[in-house]
């Protein structure tokens, strides 16, 4: 019996040696270890053995069984591994083929930059306020120190609904409305659509967007105006931007200034982008005119403030190198998909 057991062990080892697929392995397992397998058949004859032989043979049989079992397990692991590597090999795909894109829309480029500007000002403590686009002449002009027949009205060609109602030419009326309803300290920006009767061409549109800002508090100075707007420009265009404040005139601010940014392209030397000036006009600003404060029932002896305003379209055009303003309102997918 001992020999028989050893033969079984040897035969199993040989069979496993040449085995190369899981089915065959299973057959080997059944053949040697199954209920009707060779080892079981031997063990069934254990009864015939003497009491002295029985434990010896029993031990041997267990040894053979466990040897075969672990060999089978080992082989099984090898075969599984082989099978997996074969499968992985077969399953290889061309990873350079394009992926399946999931549909995802995009924000309009005007919104993209508008949001960025809003975020900068939110970070500096400016609330975002809005107001009507169809506006009383009173708010759009008169409260801003631009009475009827004021020559400044010529510089903003206005769409009229009737004598007293206009399409707002600026978002400044929102500032007036804000000063009427909030008491200082005030720190707001008013973004939105504005209207001027400019014929449509590559650089003009009868409808465009503005962002205006207003700060009113005790002791606000022109140095604060410069500091605030300089931070804004550096956030928008980068820390190395250079700005200059140039005297200008607006009826609703005094002193007034225009803020120029040094041309990013030529660094002040003058090029095609800045029309040879070396500077690009970005926004208008100034200290809120005392008359405007007074109109809003804020005492100019106690409070002062500054205001600024800029057009959005030009900023977006420069950001993305867009040469025709009409593209914004044409909404061609081939345009919208680029941002």
């Amino acid at each position: 019996m001992k020999t028989a057991l050893e033969n079984i062990g040897k035969a199993a080892a040989e069979a496993l040696q040449s085995c190369s697929d899981p089915k065959e392995l299973d057959a080997i397992r059944v053949r040697f270890l199954g209920k009707k397998g060779e080892l079981t058949a031997i063990l069934k004859q254990m009864g015939k053995l003497s009491a002295e032989e029985r434990p010896v043979i029993g031990q041997l049989a267990n040894e053979v069984r466990s040897r075969i079992e672990s060999a089978v397990a080992e082989k099984s692991a090898i075969l599984k591994e082989e099978q997996m590597s074969r499968q992985l090999e077969e399953e290889h795909i061309d990873v350079t083929m394009p992926g399946r894109k999931q549909p995802y829309g995009k924000a309009h480029p005007l919104t993209l930059v508008m949001d960025e500007i809003k975020e900068i000002f939110l970070g500096m403590g400016f609330d975002v306020v809005s107001g009507p686009e169809v506006e009383y002449d009173h708010y759009n002009f008169e409260m801003l120190n631009i009475p009827k027949d004021h020559p400044a009205r010529d510089t903003q060609d206005t769409f009229y609904i009737n004598e007293n109602i206009v399409l707002r030419t600026q978002t400044s009326p929102v500032q007036v409305r804000t000063m009427e309803t909030r008491r200082p300290p005030i720190r707001v920006i008013s973004p939105g659509r504005v209207y001027r009767s400019d014929a449509i061409d590559a650089t003009h549109s009868p409808l465009f967007h503005q962002i205006e800002g207003l700060v009113v508090d005790k002791g606000v100075t022109m140095a604060d105006l410069k500091g605030t707007l300089e931070i804004f420009v550096k956030r928008l265009y980068g820390e190395d931007s250079v700005v200059r404040f140039r005297p200008h005139h607006f009826p609703f601010t005094e002193p007034s200034a225009e803020l120029d940014v040094m041309c990013f392209n030529c660094h002040g030397k003058g090029c095609r982008l800045c029309k040879g000036e070396g500077w690009i006009e970005l926004l208008g600003c100034g200290m809120v005119h005392p008359k405007v404060l007074q109109n809003c029932d804020i005492d100019p002896e106690e409070y002062s403030g500054f205001a600024f305003g800029m057009g959005l379209e030009r900023v977006v055009m420069r950001r993305f190198n867009i040469d025709d303003l009409r593209l914004f309102y044409e909404n061609d997918l081939r345009f919208l998909d680029q941002f």
Binding site: G105, P151, Y195, I200, A223, K226, G227, P247, P251, L333
Partner: protein
């Protein structure tokens, strides 16, 4: 305003180069747009003296000249001009010379004869006979100026000025003049301003014998000054005057006209000259026009006047529209003997309204409408008379008519250096401020600043602060941060709007931006009935064109335009959305309601349910729940069988559907397209943003599938509502999963399948409990004609 640098130097000595000058003036508040040197493109042209002129042997129209150009041998030059004579001084373009238009002159041969350059006409130098009235235009320019042979042409004929173009803001009409800009330059460069007081000798007589003046409306005409000139001799002006006019962009005409233009440029005060003999009754009345009165203006156009317009009239009729333009009838002729100079001040707003109403914007009206200094009329008219004498253009009659109703008391402003320093955020001594102001022409009376009459823009201490800041230097003001706590945040409404953007973009929609104004015809395109209240819109009285003439009462046409544009540019599919307002008219003198809408439009691989899916996703993500949907057959823009309105309770949220084929046709869209429009304020009001965590279920759910049979035209939302209402407390979810119409079931019926999920929070649901719930559902469904299939 075009400023001649040479003219400027009469008043202040500026030796900076034009670029540095432009920069300095811009930074002190007079913005320079550009500058150009006269005849910059001309080079290599010198004065030559013609020595001899002989015929060309191979040509009967060419001549050969020997010309001395001041160095070496005389040049041989062939020309076709007939007016060249020996001894004449001529402009010679030598070998390598450049002329306007990029013309380059080279040595060459003409019909076999060597030509070492070209003799130039006025035109070839970029000039006209207005610049040199003695010269002819169709021949060589025979120079009569005092110059030397070989001299560069720029210097020789005074073609060497620099013109600086300023952009003057409307508050500074005083800077629309040489003197005004000279004052700014003098303060910028801290150099003395050399003002000049005109001196007039006069020839005796009395102006009152020539003219009488009556001002009937002193509000519109605060000051009227007039002088008379007799024995007028009309002729060309001298070279220095022509040069200054030319460099300022004004064409020289004759001495009298040139004088009025010259003084307008120098003083900023428009002057009007008219023939005294043509003033009926020698009497001038400054009055409002009579209704229906007309005038033929200098440009030859008949103008109908209104009572609001101020005119200069003689005893019978208007001879000029005050501050705008003179009448043709009273203009200066060659045979004019006596001229009246008028130097008047008119109310800016009145001139502006009149010029607008007559659609005549002139050099004079552009100045008057900004509000001129009444004190300036006197200096200007005296300067004009001085020039008349200087030019020998006539004899100045003694005396002046000067009707002055202008305010005499100057504006006074308290001088508060501390306030100014605090306002600007700077620390400069009071003396420095005082020095700046004094240089600008302000006076001091104790602690009061006296504002000069030409600075009508200065009314408040903030204006004084600006004067200080401009000349202290904006760039020297420090940069500081605003004090106080920053506590800004977006409002709930703004965050809600931001969410809409994010959700719709995640659904594959591109944001679009469209005009808020449309054409009223667009209402036809979307098939609005003629009596639709939406056709009553806010109308722009002065639109650019019909396409942008009314404020939209619906955003649908705008989105259809976008779909049409993309379809016709061959985009296979387009999913778009816009957040934009509709403008709903209220009373005539009330502002319209501006209702923000989110409008979704799409075409391509999509159907109604694609659009509805996007709308449902939007509502779900915005936490707008328990809304209701009803089929809508009446909306003219939509397919009557594929349109629905969304409600919550009685409140309409929006509309969605497939676009009506006729509307698609109107927009040349060749595929089915879908539109939805939801009112953002309504959505915001209905959104329930409260989110609360519910524990994960502990017990298993039981699912029952029901295949139901109902009438084909029953909206299945009714089935779902009934299930929800009747399934009892354990209902977790009702899910539609199939619909069938066809041969397997009776005609006129449809089969609809739902999966119902039931779950209890307190234990595993028994079959009996689930069956009971289903039984209850079926019983309720039967009441609306729905049975188990």
């Amino acid at each position: 305003m075009d400023l001649s640098m040479r003219w400027l130097n009469d008043y202040v000595e500026i030796d900076d180069d034009p670029r540095a000058f432009s920069e300095a003036m811009t930074m002190s508040g007079s913005k320079v747009e550009s500058f150009r040197k006269e005849a910059e493109e001309v080079s290599g042209v010198v004065v030559g003296k013609v020595l001899s002129v002989v015929p060309h042997e191979n040509s009967d129209h060419l001549v050969i000249c020997k010309v001395d150009v001041g160095q070496g041998e005389p040049l041989q030059i062939v020309t076709g001009a007939k007016n060249v004579v020996p001894g004449a001084l001529v402009p010679v373009a030598t070998d390598g010379a450049l002329l306007p238009g990029g013309v380059k002159i080279k040595k060459g041969k003409l019909r076999g004869a060597v030509s070492e350059g070209m003799l130039c006409s006025l035109g070839e130098l970029g000039l006209t006979a207005h610049d040199f009235p003695y010269a002819v235009e169709d021949g060589i320019f025979l120079i009569e100026e005092a110059c030397t042979v070989g001299q560069d042409i720029h210097e020789a004929i005074g073609l060497n000025d620099t013109c600086v173009e300023f952009e003057i803001t409307p508050n500074r009409p005083d800077c629309l003049s040489v003197i005004g800009l000279a004052r700014e330059a003098a303060v910028t460069y801290q150099k003395p301003l050399r003002l000049h007081t005109p001196e007039v000798r006069g020839c005796g007589g009395n102006v009152n014998d020539y003219l009488s003046v009556e001002v009937l409306n002193p509000v519109l005409c605060p000051r009227y000054s007039a002088k008379a000139i007799k024995n007028v001799k009309v002729g060309p002006s001298p070279r220095w005057m022509r040069e200054r006019l030319r460099a300022s962009g004004i064409r020289p005409i004759n001495n009298l006209v040139d004088i009025t233009n010259f003084v307008m440029l120098e003083y900023g005060q428009p002057l009007h000259a008219f023939d005294a003999d043509l003033v009926k009754g020698r009497h001038i009345v400054v009055r409002n026009a009579k209704p229906g009165e007309t005038i033929c203006t200098l440009d030859g156009v008949d103008r109908v006047l209104t009572e609001k317009m101020l005119v200069i009239a003689d005893a019978e009729k208007p001879v000029a529209v005050a501050g705008v333009m003179g009448g043709e009838y009273s203009g200066i002729m060659d045979n004019t003997n006596t001229v009246i100079f008028e130097s008047a001040n008119f109310l800016g707003s009145s001139v502006r309204t009149t010029a607008r109403a007559l659609a005549m914007r002139t050099d004079a009206s552009a100045r008057y409408e900004k509000g001129l200094d009444p004190k300036n009329t006197y200096g200007a008219i005296m300067r004009a008379c001085e020039l008349v004498e200087l030019l020998g253009a006539g004899e100045v009659v003694d005396g002046i008519i000067d009707i002055d109703n202008s305010p005499q008391e100057p504006v006074r402003i308290g001088f508060e250096p501390d306030w100014i320093n605090g306002f600007l955020g700077i620390e400069i001594p009071a003396e420095e401020m005082r020095a700046i102001l004094e240089r600008l022409g302000f006076d001091f009376d104790g602690d009061q600043i006296i504002v000069p009459s030409f600075r009508g823009d200065v009314e408040h201490k903030a204006d004084i602060a600006e004067e200080i800041a401009r000349f202290y230097g904006y760039d020297k003001i420090p940069t500081t941060a605003i004090r106080g706590i920053a506590k800004a945040q977006l409002t709930p409404e703004q965050k809600f709007e931001r969410n809409i953007h994010q959700i719709l973009q995640a659904c594959g929609c591109y944001e679009v931006a469209t005009y808020s104004f449309i054409s009223p015809k667009y209402y036809d395109n979307i098939r609005l009935p003629a009596d639709s209240p939406l056709r009553d819109c806010v109308v722009i009285t002065n639109p650019l064109g019909e396409d942008t003439s009314v404020m939209r009462t619906t955003t649908l046409p705008s989105m259809l335009e976008v779909l049409s544009h993309n379809y016709n540019n061959r985009s296979a599919a387009f999913y778009g959305y816009e957040i934009g307002s509709e403008y709903i008219k209220k009373g005539e003198n009330e502002l319209p309601d501006e209702n923000q809408q989110v409008t979704i439009g799409l075409y391509g691989e999509a159907d109604f349910y694609t659009l509805k899916g996007i709308v449902e996703t939007l509502l779900e993500r915005l936490h707008v729940v328990d809304w209701d949907i009803r089929p809508e057959k009446q909306h003219p823009t939509f397919h009557p069988g594929r349109c629905a309105v969304l409600y919550k309770g009685d409140r309409q949220i929006g509309v969605l559907g497939e676009v009506h084929p006729l509307v698609l046709q109107n927009y040349s869209i060749g595929v089915r397209a879908y539109l939805a429009k939801l009112d953002i304020n309504t959505l915001f009001a209905l959104a329930d943003g409260k989110v609360e965590y519910k524990p994960m279920p502990k017990f298993p759910a039981t699912t029952r599938d029901l295949s139901l049979l109902c009438e084909e035209d029953l909206p299945i939302v009714e089935i779902e509502k009934t299930i929800r209402a009747s399934a009892g407390p354990h209902l977790e979810e009702v899910k539609f999963f199939d619909i069938y119409k066809g041969t397997q079931i009776a005609a006129g019926k449809k089969s609809v399948s739902y999966s119902i999920t039931l779950r209890s929070a307190t234990g595993t649901l028994t079959d009996a409990e689930a069956d009971a719930a289903v039984k209850q559902v079926l019983k309720s469904l039967e009441k609306i004609g729905v049975t188990l299939r």
